[in-house]
C-alpha cells in the first residue's frame, strides 16, 4: 500500500496534468462542434508549438513563455486558414470521414517536417527554474508543472468567458447548435467557423508551450497525445466542452494514480479502456447531449 504522501503527490500531479488535458480537449471539442471534424492534427500542432518554444529558448535565448506572443496569433491564423482553405472545400456528405483523412495528412506532414528540420533527436528545455519545487503537505510540486497548469487554467477561463460573455461567443455557440438557424438570424457562420477553428488551434499553441516546460519532446510524440485526447472527448461526449474538461480531470487523475502500481506505460491504457467501455455501454458519452448521440 503506497504511503499517504505518495498518494497525495499523485493526486496533485494528476490534477495538474488533467488541466492541460482539459485545455487541449476543449480545442478538439470546438472543432467537432463547429464542423463535425475529428481533428487528428491537433496534437501535431501541440508538438510544433513545443518545438517553437524550445527553439526560441535555445537559439534566441527567450523564455519559452514569451514565445506564446508569437505562437498564439500564428496558430490562430493557421486555424482560420485551415478551415477556410482546406476543410470548407470538402463535400458535406462525407465531411466527417474525409476531414479525418485530411487532418491526418496534415499531422503526418507536420511530423515529417519537424523531423526534417529539427532531426529526431530528443529535445528538452533547460530552465533556470526547471528544477525548482516546493512542498505542500509532504508532496513535492515542481514549479514548471504549476506554471503549465496555470497557463491551461487561465486559457480555459478566457475561453469560457469568450464563449459565454461576448457577442462572438454567442455567435459561435449558435453556429455549433444549429448552423442554418444561426445563418437565418444574420450570423456569418463561415467567418465564425473559421475563427472557432483558430481558437481551437490557439489552445494547441498554449498547450504546447506548457508542455515544453518540463517534457522531453520528439517529432512522433504527438501520437502519444492524440490517443488520450480522443478518448477524453468521447468519454466526455463529443461536442461538450464541460464534459471534455470533466473527463480530462478524471482520466488525468486516474492515470496519475495508476502509475503507482502499474508504471507509466501501462497506466496509459486507462484512456483506451475508458474509451472502449464508454462506447460499449454509453456511446453518447457521459456528458454529451443530443449532438453526441449520432456520432
Amino acid at each position: 500500500m503506497p504511503s499517504g504522501a505518495l498518494l497525495f503527490q499523485s493526486v496533485i500531479l494528476g490534477l495538474l496534468l488533467g488541466g492541460l488535458y482539459a485545455l487541449l480537449a476543449a480545442g478538439l471539442t470546438l472543432y467537432f462542434g463547429i464542423m463535425r471534424v475529428v481533428m487528428i492534427a491537433h496534437s501535431a500542432f501541440l508538438i510544433l508549438a513545443a518545438y517553437l518554444a524550445w527553439w526560441s529558448h535555445s537559439r534566441l535565448g527567450i523564455d519559452p513563455l514569451l514565445s506564446l506572443l508569437v505562437t498564439v496569433p500564428l496558430f490562430f491564423a493557421c486555424g482560420v486558414l485551415l478551415q477556410r482553405l482546406l476543410l470548407a472545400r470538402l463535400r458535406p456528405a462525407t465531411m466527417t470521414m474525409m476531414s479525418v483523412l485530411l487532418t491526418f495528412a496534415i499531422a503526418v506532414c507536420v511530423e515529417g517536417l519537424l523531423g526534417y528540420v529539427f532531426t529526431g533527436t530528443q529535445r528538452r528545455i533547460q530552465l533556470g527554474y526547471g528544477s525548482a519545487s516546493f512542498e505542500v503537505l509532504g508532496a513535492r510540486v515542481a514549479v514548471v508543472k504549476l506554471i503549465a497548469f496555470g497557463l491551461a487554467a487561465v486559457s480555459l477561463l478566457a475561453l469560457y468567458l469568450l464563449m459565454k460573455r461576448t457577442t462572438f461567443g454567442w455567435a459561435l455557440r449558435a453556429t455549433i447548435q444549429h448552423r442554418d438557424a444561426a445563418r437565418l438570424v444574420g450570423i456569418d457562420t463561415d467567418r465564425v467557423a473559421g475563427f472557432g477553428f483558430g481558437l481551437g488551434l490557439a489552445t494547441a499553441a498554449v498547450g504546447g508551450t506548457a508542455l515544453s516546460l518540463d517534457t522531453t519532446i520528439y517529432p512522433s510524440l504527438h501520437w502519444h497525445w492524440i490517443g488520450p485526447l480522443m478518448a477524453i472527448i468521447v468519454v466526455g461526449g463529443l461536442g461538450s466542452v464541460p464534459g471534455a474538461a470533466a473527463a480530462a480531470m478524471v482520466l488525468g487523475l486516474l492515470q496519475s494514480l495508476l502509475q503507482i502500481p502499474l508504471g507509466t506505460t501501462w497506466a496509459q491504457t486507462v484512456f483506451y479502456i475508458a474509451l472502449f467501455a464508454t462506447l460499449a455501454f454509453r456511446p453518447q458519452g457521459f456528458f454529451g447531449g443530443r449532438l453526441a448521440q449520432r456520432f
Binding site: 475529428v38 495528412a105 490517443g227 462506447l279 460499449a280 453518447q284
Partner: protein
C-alpha cells in the same frame, strides 16, 4: 443493357491482363530484390483490398487496420514459436482469432456513427503498440520476434517465388469475396448504409449487424495478410507492425485507386507501393517520406476523393457518345428496364426517381 455488358467485358479483360501479369512477373523479375518488391506490393494490395470491405462498402474510414494486420502477424508468429503449430495452420488460426477479436472491437466502434469509429481505430493501433512493446516476456518487446520459415530448405529466390504466388492467391480470394459481396443483397444493404445510414435503417436494413459482419470479414482478410507477411519476412517488430502509417497506406492506396471499384485498391497499391519502395531506395530513411505521404493523401482527399479509376472512366466517357455518366446504372437505363419489365407505363411515371449522390 449495353453499359453492363461493356463493364463486365472490361472486368473480364482486366482480370485476364492481371492474371497474365501476375503469373509472368516472377520469371520476368531481373533479380530477387525486384521480386521481393513485387511481394511487398502484393501484400499492400491484399491489405488495401481487405480495408476496402469497410471503407468501400460502408464508407467508414479505418486508420487502424494496420493493427489488425499486426495482430495477424504476431498471432501467427506466436502460434508457430510458442505453440509449435505448423505454419499455415497457425496462419489460419491467427486470422480466425483476429476476426473473433474484431467482434467486440466492432461492437464498441460501430454502435454509433463514423466519428467514434475513426477514434477507436486510431486508439486500437496505439494501445496494441503499447501492449506489444511492454509485454516483452511474450512478444519479445522491442527486440522483435523471429518467425521460422515454413519452407526451411528453399533458397532465397525460390522462397520469394513461392510467397509471391501465395500472396497472389490470397489477393485473388479477397477480390473474389469483395466481388461476391458487391453483387449480393448484403452488399446492397452495405452500400445503402454508405449513402445514407438513416434512410437505410428506416427501410429495414439491419445496419448495425451488417456493419459488424463486414468489419469482421475485413479483419479476417487483414489478419491473413499480416500473418502471411510474418511467415515471409520472418522478423516482427512492434514499431512496424503496429504503426499508424501502415493503416494510412491502406487508406491512401484504396482512395487513390477508387474505393468503389474492385480493382481500385490494387491499382493504388501498385502506384503507392512502388513509389514507397522507390522513395526508400532514392532518399533513404529521412523524414521526408512522411511529408510525401501526407501531401499525397491530402491531394487525393481534396481533389480526387473518388480515386483514379473513376476519374479515368469519366475521362473515357467524355470521348464516348451516348454515355455521359459513370454511375453503374443510369436513371434512363433504369427506366427502360422497368418499362420492359412492367410493360407499358404512363409516360413520366418511371422518371421521377431521385438522383443518387454518386
Amino acid at each position: 443493357m449495353p453499359s453492363v455488358s461493356r463493364s463486365s467485358l472490361g472486368y473480364l479483360a482486366a482480370t485476364a491482363v492481371l492474371l497474365v501479369a501476375v503469373l509472368a512477373f516472377p520469371s520476368l523479375a531481373p533479380n530477387p530484390y525486384i521480386l521481393s518488391v513485387g511481394i511487398v506490393v502484393l501484400n499492400y494490395a491484399v491489405l488495401s483490398t481487405s480495408w476496402n470491405f469497410v471503407g468501400g462498402f460502408i464508407g467508414y474510414i479505418s486508420l487502424g487496420h494496420g493493427a489488425l494486420a499486426g495482430l495477424g502477424a504476431y498471432g501467427t508468429g506466436l502460434l508457430v514459436t510458442k505453440a509449435g503449430l505448423p505454419s499455415f495452420v497457425a496462419l489460419l488460426a491467427a486470422a480466425l482469432m483476429v476476426a473473433a477479436l474484431a467482434l467486440p472491437i466492432g461492437y464498441a466502434a460501430l454502435r454509433v456513427r463514423g466519428a467514434s469509429f475513426v477514434i477507436v481505430s486510431i486508439a486500437l493501433v496505439l494501445i496494441l503498440l503499447l501492449v506489444f512493446q511492454s509485454w516483452a516476456s511474450l512478444t519479445g518487446g522491442s527486440r522483435g520476434l523471429n518467425v521460422p520459415r515454413p519452407f526451411p530448405d528453399l533458397l532465397r529466390p525460390e522462397h520469394h517465388r513461392v510467397f509471391f504466388f501465395l500472396f497472389a492467391g490470397l489477393l485473388g480470394i479477397a477480390m473474389l469475396t469483395w466481388w461476391a459481396i458487391d453483387r449480393s443483397r448484403f452488399g446492397l444493404g452495405l452500400k445503402a448504409i454508405r449513402e445514407d445510414e438513416d434512410k437505410a435503417e428506416s427501410l429495414g436494413t439491419p445496419t448495425f449487424s451488417y456493419k459488424l459482419v463486414v468489419f469482421v470479414v475485413s479483419a479476417f482478410f487483414t489478419g491473413l495478410a499480416g500473418g502471411l507477411y510474418a511467415l515471409w519476412f520472418g522478423d516482427l517488430d512492434p514499431v512496424f507492425q503496429f504503426s499508424i502509417l501502415t493503416g494510412s497506406y491502406m487508406v491512401l492506396m484504396a482512395l487513390l485507386g477508387g474505393v468503389r471499384n474492385l480493382f481500385g485498391p490494387l491499382v493504388g497499391a501498385l502506384v503507392v507501393g512502388s513509389a514507397l519502395e522507390y522513395f526508400k531506395v532514392q532518399f533513404g530513411d529521412t523524414q521526408l517520406h512522411l511529408v510525401a505521404t501526407g501531401l499525397l493523401l491530402a491531394l487525393v482527399v481534396l481533389f480526387m476523393p473518388d480515386g483514379v479509376l473513376p476519374a479515368i472512366g469519366s475521362l473515357a466517357a467524355r470521348f464516348r457518345p451516348a454515355q455521359s455518366s459513370i454511375r453503374e446504372v443510369t436513371q434512363a437505363e433504369l427506366r427502360e428496364s422497368r418499362l420492359a419489365e412492367r410493360g407499358p407505363v404512363p409516360a413520366g411515371a418511371g422518371a421521377n426517381g431521385k438522383e443518387d449522390r454518386g
